[in-house]
Each structure stands twice: as structure tokens, then as C-alpha cells.
Symmetry: C2
Subunit: 159 residues, 2 copies
């Protein structure tokens, strides 16, 4: 197995194909993680998401420093993991954020992966509030990839 | 799709079968996530792990409030996610921690999933430091599970 550091371009390429990420936020020193669907806007280096109002939205409103981890793990010898650090911004219905909201909706529809748990409510829940749309401005990305050693060509084995 | 809250016992059962979790830590309000292998000691409600010294170990030494997220996601209608909040403790070679280290090693061997990226070093790296063994004392667990609606029995459809 060989492990490589990914370049920023490779990290962004990986983010653009991710279906699920783990969003991390923190309050008073306590981290919190939840799986979410996120949609990468490559030009503006933002991840867009949506959610009903709940713990993570409250925490991110309180402290907008967040991170998103995305990975693909086949087994212990073949995996990729990418971490994006960034800043949470809520996209409200104001005129000035209308364009960003539209961008988010376009990405959601394009990828048609409107799902959760970010937006899911319990069967017992009574809330049907409209979801919060948000984006994460990426400040830095890093990533690693493990690959199996390539097989030896026959000439290297002998014969 | 119906979404259920899991009981603490169901969360712990899920943790005990997890192969990979995402460990979250935070420093100065900035969360950080890394995938790790963790081994659940059910009796003592601890997750054991190991790692070479790096960013996450430094952060957890600085702030021992951590969380571990474990999930199994088939698709948008079938998933389980569990979050354990806890406190990091490093298991050094001192006599008083020898027993806990042995417990960790027993769990690692039992499950033979000695892998990374937690313990992996880059191919270009020169370090071969002995890994840090640690455990996370779980203070609380929570979890949710989404399941498809069960199929209607024929009698309910008619006929």
C-alpha cells in the first residue's frame, strides 16, 4: 500500500462526485458530526446543503467554523479521504441572497439527491418547517489516498 | 420511509459491529474529522483506537471532548447513523494504564482490523514512531434509523 497526499485540485474533483459527507460543527469545544448530502459549486468553492432547523443548524449559527469530511473506503488498502474546512453561511430569502439560493436549488436538482438525514424528521415529529438552505465557503482542503501496490509486470518476476 | 430514534442499547449494539467511524475533535472552535478504526469495549462503554502522533492526537490532547459518528447508508431510504459523545484518554505505558492498554490490544487482535488512515504514514514519511493507544469514554449516545415502509400484506391490498 502506498499513501499519497492529494492536491487541492484532486480534493475538489473528489468533492464534486461525493454523494454523502460528514459535516462537523462545534460548540463550546464539543464537536458534533452528522451525515449530509452536499452539492459542490466548483466555481465559487462552496458546498451547498439544506436541512430542517435542528441541533446542527443551531450550532452552526452559533459558530460558523465547520468542516466536511468525504471518503470512499473499499478496504484497508484502498481508500480516499478528503477534508474541507470552511465557514457556514445561511441563505435566507432576502433579495441579496436570492442568487445564491437559486444556485443551490439548481445544484440540488441537477444532482437530484434531495435526501437526508439532514432534512429528515422523525415519523413522530410534527414539524413541517421549510428547510434551511446553506452553503459552506471552503477555506482549505486536504486529502489522502491509499492504493495497492501495482502488480509486478511478468518481466520483473523473471522468465 | 419511517425514521426511528434508536435506544441507547441499539446504539451500542451498532457501535459494536462498526468497522469504521469518523472521529471528531475541535480546537479553538474549529472542528476536525478523520475516519478511524475503533473497537468497542461494551462493558466499560469505551471505544479504543490507535494512531501515530499527528494532528488529531495533538488536538485531542489539547481538548479531550470528542465525538464518534458511525453509520451504514444503503440509500436515501435505508440508513442508520449513531453518534457517541465522549472524552479522550491516552493510554500510556505507565503501570496504572497497563490493564487498559492490554484490553485495547485484546480488542484489536480479536477483531484484527489493524488499519488506518489513523495509523498510516505517507510513503514519503520517515517516522516510525510507536502508535498512541487511546480510548474514548462514552458519555452519551444517540442514533436514528430510516427504514422503508414494510410491504403491504396481500389481504391489505385486496383480493
Amino acid at each position: 500500500m502506498t499513501i499519497y497526499e492529494l492536491t487541492a485540485a484532486e480534493c475538489e474533483e473528489f468533492l464534486s462526485h461525493a454523494k454523502v459527507g460528514r459535516l462537523g460543527c462545534a460548540r463550546k469545544g464539543q464537536p458534533y458530526i452528522v451525515p449530509v448530502s452536499l452539492y459542490f459549486g466548483r466555481e465559487e468553492r462552496c458546498l451547498y446543503g439544506f436541512s430542517t432547523v435542528g441541533k446542527k443548524i443551531e450550532w452552526m449559527r452559533d459558530n460558523p467554523s465547520v468542516c466536511v469530511e468525504v471518503d470512499a473506503i473499499s478496504d484497508q488498502y484502498q481508500w480516499t479521504t478528503v477534508l474541507a474546512m470552511g465557514r457556514y453561511e445561511e441563505l435566507d430569502a432576502s433579495e441579496e441572497q436570492q442568487r445564491a439560493r437559486q444556485r443551490a436549488l439548481d445544484l440540488f436538482q441537477e444532482q437530484s439527491r434531495w435526501w437526508l438525514p439532514g432534512g429528515a424528521k422523525l415519523s413522530s415529529g410534527v414539524e413541517h418547517a421549510s428547510p434551511v438552505v446553506y452553503r459552506i465557503h471552503i477555506s482549505s482542503v486536504s486529502g489522502r489516498r491509499a492504493v495497492r501496490q501495482p502488480p509486478q509486470p511478468p518481466s520483473a518476476i523473471g522468465g
